[in-house]
């Protein structure tokens, strides 16, 4: 940086060079409000609609191809006689996944996001209109396959389930901490393929998860072979029963999205108006 060519003039100090003829006063307003305020308000509305009917909503997140839809197919086959299940599918394009779910005999609605890489609360709201919520116990939301963006948006659901398939790297929780930290439950999927893969260690994957200060349970399973499915199905049934009790007591449950740190930052109830002295 020098005083010769002008490279020391930045957007921060440029105003010092010019004496504005009638400089307008600049004032600063301290806000301290959550950037996702609108999304979160909409999420609360969605959650209230679900809670009014005692429906537990579970958000499934993973990278594309980790087996979310296959897991749903296998889960529905095993649970559809004991629980009323609905599914919302999020993809950039096609009805393919919703068609696969409907083939299992349960209601499904496809949200096609176009180019948007995640679902948000504003997209979930209208999708709920496609279901008779009074006839559901459990609503799965299969988010867009993406390990980055979906973690930042509360949809109005209750639990986050994050999938990691053994064909991916076991250090994925370390590489995508925002996503995996948000998990209420982590599923290591396609476990039937493990004998063919010498570089994936479920123990290492779990260690990476723990390093994110996560106490989320980790289950290993295979939708295809059925191996390990029992623990997952029991977890679901337990969660559905607990949620019914919870809403009876007038309580709800929020997923582990943006929870810990955010709650420590008390948003100012009234913006403060404070003049800034310039030059």
């Amino acid at each position: 940086m020098c005083n010769t060519c002008g490279c020391n003039v930045t957007s921060g100090n440029r105003h010092l060079l010019f004496t504005a003829p009638a400089q307008k006063p600049v004032s600063a307003v301290t806000v301290l409000s959550n950037l996702l305020k609108h999304n979160d308000a909409h999420a609360e509305q969605n959650r209230a609609r679900l809670d009014a009917q005692g429906v537990l909503a579970i958000n499934l997140m993973s990278s594309p191809g980790s087996g979310k839809t296959a897991l749903l197919e296998a889960t529905i086959q095993r649970l559809k006689d004991s629980l009323n299940i609905g599914v919302i599918e999020g993809d950039l394009e096609t009805e393919n996944d919703a068609d696969r779910i409907r083939a299992q005999g349960v209601p499904a609605h496809q949200i096609t996001t176009g180019t948007a890489c995640h679902l948000d609360a504003h997209l979930l709201g209208p999708a709920l209109d496609h279901f008779d919520l009074s006839k559901l116990d459990l609503l799965f939301i299969e988010n867009v396959g993406n390990l980055v963006c979906p973690a930042s948006f509360d949809l109005g659901h209750h639990r986050n389930v994050t999938l990691l398939s053994v064909t991916e790297g076991d250090d994925k929780p370390a590489k995508y901490p925002v996503m995996f930290r948000a998990a209420d439950l982590m599923l290591i999927t396609k476990i039937d393929l493990l004998p063919h893969l010498d570089d994936f260690s479920p123990e290492r994957a779990e260690l990476c998860q723990r390093k994110l200060a996560s106490s989320a349970p980790v289950f290993n399973l295979s939708s295809r072979s059925g191996q390990g499915m029992e623990a997952w199905l029991e977890w679901l049934q337990h969660e559905v029963a607990e949620h019914k009790q919870r809403v009876k007591n007038g309580q709800t449950l929020r997923p582990r999205v943006q929870q810990d740190g955010q709650s420590l930052h008390d948003p100012a109830s009234q913006p403060r108006f404070r003049p800034v002295v310039r030059v």
Partner: protein
């Protein structure tokens, strides 16, 4: 926002809608003529890329009170509190364990913020010297 087919290539752009709505509401409430600067606190665990947010912001602001406003992103440090040893430490996004005792039972004190901290506005009336 009811349209299902929105053209938002990145989620930083959709975040900007929320941000911009809040900024413009504040500007209107203070009868400001123009938004000069917007300061946002972002933690590494918020899942938002500051550079993408900055470029998305300048695009979103076009034709609004905030056109030409500068977005300043203040990156926050990751700090954790350990439930086991009771000490605070700095941490990284992929390793939130306690630096003192190594336990994983920590709680995040800061690092996942996504907060509109401050808005600087230019008012209508001229300055009185």
């Amino acid at each position: 926002m009811s349209g299902l087919h929105r053209t938002q290539p990145v989620h930083e752009l959709s975040l900007c809608q929320d941000l911009l709505e809040q900024v413009i509401a504040i500007a209107r409430a203070h009868q400001a003529e123009k938004v000069v600067r917007v300061i946002v606190n972002i933690g590494p665990l918020a899942g938002v890329e500051p550079l993408l947010l900055e470029s998305a912001f300048s695009v979103s602001c076009e034709g609004t009170l905030a056109e030409g406003a500068e977005l300043v992103t203040a990156l926050q440090a990751i700090r954790v509190y350990c439930d086991v040893c009771g000490l605070e430490s700095e941490a990284t996004a992929s390793d939130l364990s306690c630096r003192h005792c190594g336990d994983f039972a920590t709680r995040l004190l800061s690092g996942d913020e996504l907060i509109l901290a401050r808005v600087e506005l230019e008012s209508v009336e001229e300055v009185r010297h």
